[in-house]
């Protein structure tokens, strides 16, 4: 059995893992990336549509292009990359961790490391998660799986498609399938507003006159061997109104009903999970409840834009470097809690240091909203937001100047972030 010794081991070689690892390498740490697929790049490789990189590179890239820029960056570092290697365990060894990986060609690999970065991304919710009644024929798959089949394997999953849920992947697939010659009969969304970003509603549905059924559910799936039809039912005051039901004849159903951070490993390592995000609780340094285990990217909270994943992961990498070098700022941390109309705020605590960035998700759709950060009775920040909606992540920076100097250090008051 081979044992490798590192300062930090990054689990996952997608957008988050690569950005975090590159940052740590550039600051002089000895770092390994462990990736279960045959190549680096993660989910970006199957996202062949454009729209990535506007913030990070100031140009519009496709997923594979964005991924390759980072892959080339990784190739020009002294990072060790272990491909086709699945991490199966993270064991606490007192002074550090022992990460166990399994590779088909190398067998069991052990990594002794001071720090671990969780960057495993997320996975899709499926039929079981939303419980659609009906038969169990073939032709029901998640939107991301369909994306992989079409874009990487050249396999078209069906001809007449109904999409459940208006998440971004489902919208992107509506266009991709239409451009492949399929007929997309509609997108059925349980909420009164779309879950995907506006740009995708416009370019993927409106462009092709694909109906978006808001406040509707798929109430039944019919079909013996293959999907034959679905029943679509409107919601009236939150309850299905059966009298308004109508059938859509289709052979395939794509589910685009949300993503769940992939935290099986984290749980095994006793990392405390936040139920609002499905990811770990992290402190002001992106460190989880387990000392020396950090998290960034979609395994921490599901992002809508990869640019923010990269940005957050670089920040995380900087703190991991400080942790390994024993130079993390050792000051009081204030809890950061979601207030009115806010689903969650990341990171979950704040430390008095310049330029701390926060990411949050709104629970409401509103124009001309206001973001408010309160410390007890005191307003720290007020920020105008032209438009908020749950599908578009919001960020803000908390500067020292905004933070009152008069507060007693060590005071464990919470910062409350709300939207009005």
């Amino acid at each position: 059995m081979k044992t490798n010794v590192y300062d930090a081991v990054v689990i996952g070689g997608g957008a988050a893992g690569m950005a975090c690892a590159c940052e740590m390498d550039s600051s002089g740490l000895k770092v390994a990336i462990v990736e279960r697929e045959e190549t680096l790049g993660g989910i970006l490789l199957q996202c062949i549509h454009n729209g990535f990189g506007l913030h990070r590179f100031k140009e519009e890239l496709t997923g594979p292009e964005y991924a390759e820029r980072y892959i080339e960056k990784v190739e020009n570092t002294s990072l060790d990359v272990f491909l086709s290697t699945t991490v199966v365990n993270i064991a606490n060894e007192g002074e550090g961790y022992c990460v166990t990986g399994y590779s088909g060609s190398e067998g069991v690999l052990l990594f002794k490391t001071e720090a671990v970065v969780l960057a495993m991304g997320c996975r899709e919710r499926n039929r079981g998660n939303i419980g659609i009644p009906g038969t169990r024929p073939s032709g029901i798959l998640t939107a991301g799986l369909a994306q992989r089949l079409i874009n990487m394997d050249g396999l078209v999953p069906g001809r007449r498609i109904v999409i459940a849920g208006s998440g971004d992947i489902g919208l992107i697939m509506a266009r991709r399938l239409t451009w492949t010659g399929c007929e997309v009969l509609g997108v059925v969304e349980i909420l009164p507003y779309a879950s995907g970003i506006t740009r995708n509603i416009v370019q993927c549905l409106k462009d092709f006159d694909i109906p978006l059924y808001l406040s509707h559910i798929i109430s039944r799936i019919e079909g013996k061997d293959r999907v034959e039809s679905v029943q679509v039912t409107p919601l009236q005051d939150g309850k299905p109104d059966i009298s308004g039901s109508f059938p859509l004849e289709c052979d395939t159903i794509l589910l685009s009903v949300g993503l769940i951070p992939e935290n099986e490993l984290s749980r095994k390592a006793s990392v405390k999970i936040n139920h609002e995000t499905g990811g770990a609780y992290v402190d002001a340094h992106y460190m989880t409840s387990q000392k020396g285990i950090f998290a960034c990217g979609n395994v921490l909270h599901v992002h809508d834009i990869v640019d923010f994943v990269s940005e957050e992961s670089v920040t995380c990498g900087r703190y991991v470097h400080q942790y390994v070098k024993h130079s993390l700022l050792d000051a009081a941390q204030y809890n950061v809690t979601p207030g009115a109309n806010v689903k969650y705020v990341i990171p979950n605590s704040f430390i008095r240091e310049a330029g701390r960035k926060f990411y949050l998700r709104s629970l409401i759709v509103k124009n001309d909203a206001e973001l408010k950060v309160m410390l007890g009775e005191q307003t720290i920040i007020k920020k105008k937001l032209r438009h908020v909606q749950p599908s578009e992540m919001i960020s803000f920076v908390l500067d020292n100047e905004a933070f009152p100097a008069s507060l007693p250090i060590g005071d464990r008051m919470a910062l409350e972030v709300s939207i009005h």
């Binding site: 292009e65 874009n151 394997d153 451009w179």
Partner: protein, 121 residues
Amino acid sequence: MSDKNEIICISCPIGCRLQVTKLSEEAVKVEGNRCNRGEAYGREETLRPKRTVTACVRTNSRKIAYAPVKTDKPLLKEYINELLKILYTLDIEVPLRRGEILIHNFKGLDVDVVFTRTVPG
């Protein structure tokens, strides 16, 4: 002639609600935009709607059976289906590099189709 249309700007994730008034075949008035890109989008979307096209083409690589491609600039909407039909009939020999041109100056529209992933031989 006054033809007010509400469209959502897609130049960035903000998604400004634009009110576009078509003044003539060549002139529009755009309101509700937050930046210059919004104005340009409102004009283009009303007069000459274009989209960046992305698709995959078949390769002879054993590992990467389909290579992703894109138009290097947005293409006039009415030409999209014609381009897709051509792309789906191609068989591409690897190796190929990201950024390499697959179709040069499609239909004389000053739009190239380029590969977006490097596929080794």
